[in-house]
């Protein structure tokens, strides 16, 4: 191949790469919103999920897993979620009346709308659909079940103000398959979203 042809191909490739859309990264919830202070308190209701057989119904696994965010102060609570009031509470034993049918888990978040673009999150609670089968890091083996650790690390991403990411491999990537435990570990994209907000 002539040197001129190689050069043309090379230049064309560079131009194409430069003009291509940038890779989409994390997305923050819109409008942008955050909790006023860190660490953010997240409680896990002591009654766990009946399909998880790790001894606590996934409660202890969830308390531990969501600390991956690094700005979460997590513990168990015997008080069920009170919507509209902090602290953020994860309910593994109920769908909260909002998460049924094809819904696996739902985060219900609340904030006062400001005109300054500086919205504060006042509450966020997570609910779990009891119609599906889950398992936790406290169990061994998986058979077509959904990993509660991964789901809750993802949902707590919503709790702190992060939306879905287009980066495959990120915890906030909007797709998870049964028995997939990879979202338990945050990717650099997830950390970037967190650091953008806090």
């Amino acid at each position: 191949m002539k040197r001129q042809t190689i050069l043309s191909v090379l230049i064309s490739t560079i131009i194409l790469c430069a003009s291509a859309d940038p890779v989409m990264a994390y997305v923050l919830l819109s409008p942008r919103r955050r909790w006023a202070t860190t660490p953010i308190t997240v409680r896990v209701y002591t009654t766990g999920n009946s399909t998880i057989t790790d001894g606590s119904g996934g409660v202890n696994a969830t308390v531990s897993a969501i600390r991956a965010w690094g700005i979460i102060s997590s513990s168990t609570t015997s008080s069920a979620a009170v919507r509209g009031s902090a602290p953020a509470t994860i309910m593994l034993n109920t769908n909260g009346g909002i998460c049924s049918s094809t819904c696996l888990a739902a985060t219900l978040t609340g904030y006062y709308v400001s005109q300054s673009g500086d919205d504060r999150i006042y509450d966020a609670d997570v609910y779990t659909n009891q119609a599906y089968q889950y398992y936790s890091s406290g169990e061994s083996g998986c058979s077509s079940e959904f990993d509660i650790d991964s789901i809750m690390v993802h949902e707590v991403g919503h709790v702190i103000g992060i939306g879905h990411s287009n980066v495959s491999g990120a915890t906030m990537y909007p797709s998870i398959s049964a028995c997939n435990t990879a979202p338990r570990s945050l990717a650099s994209d997830d950390f970037a979203a967190r650091d953008d907000l806090y």
Binding site: L29, G84, G96, I98, S101, T102, A106, T107, Y112, H164
Partner: protein, 196 residues
Amino acid sequence: MTRRTLSLVLLLMVSALPLSASQFVDMQFDQLARGAKLIVRGTVVDTFSAWDDNREVIWTYATIRVHRYFGETTGPDTLVVRNAGGIVDGYMQEAIGFPVLRRGEDLVLMLADDGGHLVLHAYNQGKLLVQRRGAIEVLVSDPVRQGEARPQLTPRFGEAATNAVDDSPAMTIDEFSAMVDDARAGFRPTILRQQQ
């Protein structure tokens, strides 16, 4: 368009969106169509939001003026659909990733009965926007969910919205109607049969 092509379009309509499988499990079209109590085309003419009796959840009630019922069902000219999330006295409650019903939207809805309230069947899968592409009306999935910004207008609950035209995968309303009839008659799309 053949049934196989229609199935591919449906597949594309779904795959063109970020699948919120961490929150939702996708349902096949024939399951959707058979499981829906009502399937309608209509316009959102009004919305209002209110706390429930326990002041725990803000629900948005969307009044739908029905233009057409699909399948063998029929019903009133106006329906009220309840959806989690909304804004009351400046306090916004959002179910992240859930669908939004906005005033002014022209859409096709698959509806289920939830404790006496009509709701979107299978959440986002139960809502399709009607768009005009040239002389043809097509159905597309709504790419924007609760907690996400809508490009261009960014309307919030209750604000007027328009169905912006785009080039995402779509199917015509007649094709959709045929798919509903087939599903309710017990036929499964060819592509799905082949996968079994």
